[in-house]
């Protein structure tokens, strides 16, 4: 059976085998001890493009795709507006069929795009330098903790309990390898554990409200620890960037910057820090240089920090990252520009507050926290959030995250510019009708 993906014809194979001097393909596999070779594989029979398109179209239609629902779920992954232009650019095959740009002269496009990404992310976060991106926000946070450990030579890591629990778990996973001890601090913490490498805070925090980050910075720095901030990139259209309140390392999940949800992946770990920590920074970085004729060009640089040069003494093992997602974020930030990003943040802010107010006026519902918030907030419900969500679903509404294990009957709701007033009003009526 000829395959669209294997262009060698039988004739080609025969010629090539002859030129190689092999009697058969099998001869090429002689190094593999016979008992291991050509064992049976129990796999489904091959299907053609036509069949698989149909099968997977049906399969995908079983999922409640959010373009057909009102969605109030956030908690780290957000449905923000994705301008159509982004897909057209990430869909340029010169970008998406390339490998990591090891050969700079053939890769100026992606290299410059990453350089622009690094620049835009620094502008956004108010930080000095950025790498080319990591896997996701949580692993970036974990790498930040590891980096703080390397910089300070300390083994304790303090994390506020208001940090996204999943992020705390990932910090724990990575920390275990380095024998870091993770300390969970309450929101009203007064001081740092002894010999802490860093304090990790999330702004706005998992429950959606703003931390007193300046106080955190003072306490952390006072104890010789670094401040690691996990930020919401969209919030920075309206609220102060981590660089402005003393973050030494600032990380984020970059998915909201022009990327669909994709069931949570691929995402993008934004990773920024102070210039002085460059040599301890994990991940790839692109630098500007010149060519033999003096023209500007871009290259991967500072590779001596990385695993492929420094091996076991590298700053991280990361190799493949999320370049295409970073490209999307680059186009997003350029498309929105300063006014667009501010507008996005404002829309989120006002719509979330409109929603929160309307719900908290309903009998039996109340806001769990009174601190200022951005686009997420926890509502205490009159019954279990899980039950409520099941009822909302019938109205084509995906409700908020059930956080009843953290807040009594708590539901973490998220409202973005994607939620029209009509959707919000539908949610409120549905909750009222419950």
């Amino acid at each position: 059976m000829p395959s669209p993906y294997i262009p060698n014809t039988d004739q080609d194979c025969a010629t090539m085998l002859r030129d190689i001097g092999a009697g058969s393909i099998d001869e090429l596999f002689q190094d593999i001890p016979a008992p291991f070779r050509d064992v049976p594989f129990h796999l489904p029979p091959p299907l053609t493009e036509l069949e698989l398109r149909e099968k997977l179209n049906r399969r995908s239609r079983q999922n409640a795709s959010l373009d057909n629902y009102a969605c109030f779920l956030g908690a780290g992954y957000y449905r923000h507006f994705v301008p159509g232009v982004i897909g057209h650019i990430t869909g340029r095959s010169e970008f998406y069929t390339a490998y990591t740009p090891y050969q700079a002269e053939a890769s100026q496009g992606i290299l410059q795009a990453i350089y622009e990404y690094q620049s835009l992310v620094c502008q956004l976060a108010g930080m000095e330098i950025s790498n080319a991106g990591m896997y996701d926000g949580s692993s970036a946070a974990a790498e930040a903790a590891l980096m703080a450990g390397r910089i300070t030579g300390r083994k304790n890591v303090a994390v506020l309990s208001s940090v996204n629990p999943r992020y705390r778990e990932v910090i724990g996973t990575y920390g275990r390898g380095q024998d870091l001890t993770i300390h969970e601090l309450p929101p009203d913490f007064k001081g740092m554990p002894n010999e802490s490498a860093c304090l990790v805070v999330q702004q706005p925090n998992f429950f959606g409200y703003f931390e007193e980050v300046k106080r955190c910075a003072e306490i952390a720095h006072g104890a010789g620890a670094l401040l690691v901030v996990i930020f919401d990139p969209i919030s920075l259209g309206l609220f102060p960037p981590p660089g402005s309140y003393g973050a030494d390392i600032a990380v984020a999940e970059g998915q909201p910057l022009g990327n669909p949800l994709n069931f949570g992946g691929p995402g993008l770990g934004i990773f920024t820090c102070r210039q002085e920590h460059l040599r301890q920074m994990p991940g790839r970085v692109v630098g500007r240089t010149t060519d033999a004729e003096g023209q500007t060009g871009f290259v991967l640089t500072m590779a001596t920090r990385e695993q492929h040069i420094r091996r076991e003494r590298a700053t991280s093992n990361i190799c493949t990252n999320e370049a295409l997602v970073a490209l999307a974020a680059t186009v997003y930030l350029a498309a929105m520009g300063k006014s667009g990003l501010r507008r996005a943040a404002e829309l989120c802010y006002h719509k979330a507050h409109y929603t929160a107010e309307a719900i908290s006026k309903l009998k039996g519902y109340s806001l769990a926290f009174k601190q200022p918030f951005f686009k997420e907030f926890v509502i205490r419900c009159p019954q279990s959030p899980e039950k409520i969500n099941r009822i909302l679903l019938k109205e084509k509404i995906i409700g908020g995250l059930d956080v009843s294990h953290l807040v009594d009957n708590g539901m973490l709701l998220c409202v973005t510019e994607m939620n029209s007033r009509q959707e919000i009003d539908r949610l409120v009526s549905a909750l009222r009708a419950l």
Binding site: I6, A22, P45, G237, F263, L278, T320, L333
Partner: protein, 481 residues
């Protein structure tokens, strides 16, 4: 066509322009926090959509991808990836779903993940899979964290050394270090195989595991794999595979049969999902039953036709806030279904055939350190040319002038002036022949006109770039006010 002008976003930014417009507020405005709690200044480029598109389109035209031409980057498996996989990954029901939606609103996605777990287990001959790792290196991390947890669970916490062949990819030792292990290097022998004597001497009660890429990063299959496995296991160690080179074994050989306890796969290489200019990837780990309880969360379990996320009982924990790079999984799933068992076998057979063809054709012109049948890739050495003052880097840059992406160079480090060529099965004999011709021509140029090579490339958008200066005075961003 365009004259070679160079712009960065700030160069085309002008106050007042906008590339995307959001709606007006449709609810009453809430009160904003006091001014001092708001951002004072936000500086981002301002460009129209048209300018944006031209900027990035022009950048794309300064980039080389598989769709532009042959990309024989060794160890990277740069296949051509079917276009329609991209379409499927973009179905709204796959793309526009939230990782924390209730399970019964995403049965299609969960079923796909469940089945992919099973398919990868079958392909590797192992018992369980976690799809969570977001690239190969994170899959390695999962593997070695499991190794640590495993030994600890058996009271053997003293096993804190990991044996790594000298030819290994940098991620292997780096991962070992991240997991708190000490790295012990095992040399290769004259045939490019693992030096068994060293293995025997290093594999002791302080050693946790051997991490082995199979076929090795020299593109060779170590015929004594059964012995290696026996040595490691007899001495209480685990055999951990780096599955990045699976493309040569697909549908032919199973890691589990070879004795591996755990292996990470690079879906973005073997399973035909384009590499995105550096990512996203996906690096599932497959393990034998004895390690299954340690797998990173989340897994997808099936319970009477219902699918849901679960966490193994003594999991090493989460590696990310969601469930891995689902968008990449969709393509890998599609790929496996599109080929079936026979198709996968054809993949590895043609990958191996193509590599050996290049090996035979270039052997007279370039030094071949290990003159034996190779698997999916062949490693030459540029030392013949080096002796005449032409570095492997010059050869690589000169290939660009011929319209080819260069092979991987200077890796594996055990080969002097290494040139590592991986053609993959998606290339035709015609393309291989054209590449071979170019390589032969370059070998000739290296003798007759070395200067030409020293100054290559000549036909690219920029000439050879000064990497040393880039590292010396790092300029890592523009600034805008």
């Amino acid at each position: 066509m365009k004259k070679n002008k160079h712009y960065l976003l700030p160069d085309i930014s002008r106050p007042g322009k906008v590339g995307c417009q959001l709606p007006e507020l449709d609810v009453p405005a809430a009160e904003l926090p006091p001014r001092e709690k708001l951002r004072q200044e936000l500086t981002l480029p301002e460009v129209s959509e048209a300018e944006l598109v031209r900027h990035f389109t022009s950048l794309s035209r300064r980039n080389y991808g598989v769709d532009t031409g042959f990309y024989p980057l060794g160890s990277c498996t740069m296949k051509y990836n079917p276009k329609w996989h991209e379409d499927i990954a973009r179905f709204p029901g796959f793309q526009d779903i939230h990782p924390y939606q209730p399970a019964d609103t995403v049965p299609g996605a969960l079923q796909l993940m469940f089945e992919l777990q099973e398919l990868l287990a079958e392909i590797t001959g192992l018992d369980a899979t976690s799809l969570t790792p977001m690239a190969g290196a994170q899959g390695e991390l999962a593997g070695l964290l499991m190794v640590r947890a495993y030994h600890r669970s058996r009271g053997e916490d003293r096993r804190r050394k990991i044996l790594v062949p000298d030819s290994a990819h940098g991620t292997n030792p780096a991962t070992a270090a991240m997991c708190g292990f000490e790295v012990k290097t095992i040399p290769s022998n004259g045939d490019g195989n693992l030096d068994l004597k060293s293995l025997v001497s290093l594999m002791n009660e302080e050693s946790a595991a051997l991490t082995l890429t199979m076929p090795t990063t020299l593109g060779l299959f170590d015929p004594r794999i059964a012995e290696i496995s026996a040595i490691v296991h007899e001495r209480g160690g685990l055999l951990i595979g780096d599955g990045a080179n699976l493309n040569s074994l697909l549908g032919k050989v199973k890691f589990g049969d070879l004795g591996f306890d755990c292996v990470q796969l690079n879906l973005h290489k073997t399973f035909s999902t384009p590499h995105g200019g550096g990512g996203p990837g996906s690096g599932p780990v497959c393990v034998k039953a004895g390690l299954a309880d340690f797998l990173p969360s989340l897994l997808v379990a099936k319970d009477k036709k219902r699918y849901q996320f679960t966490s193994p009982p003594i999991t090493i924990g989460r590696l990310g806030a969601a469930c891995g790079n689902f968008g990449v999984m969709v393509k890998a799933y599609t790929y496996i279904h599109s080929l079936g068992a026979e198709g996968l076998k054809e993949v590895s057979e043609n990958a191996v055939l193509n590599a050996n063809y290049i090996k035979e054709k270039l052997k007279p012109y370039y030094h071949l350190p290990y003159d034996r049948t190779c698997m999916h890739e062949v490693v030459f050495s540029g030392k013949k040319q080096k002796a005449r003052g032409v570095a492997t880097l010059d050869i690589a840059k000169r290939l660009l002038d011929y319209g080819f992406h260069p092979p991987t160079v200077y890796f594996p480090q055990v080969v002097e002036e290494a040139i590592m060529i991986e053609p993959t099965e998606t290339e035709s004999k015609e393309t291989l022949d054209a590449f071979i011709e170019a390589m032969i021509e370059i070998a000739r140029e290296a003798e007759q006109n070395p200067e030409l090579l020293h100054h290559a490339p000549h036909n690219t958008p920029v000439r050879r770039l000064d990497e040393a200066n880039a590292a010396r005075k790092p300029n890592l961003r523009w600034k805008m006010k």
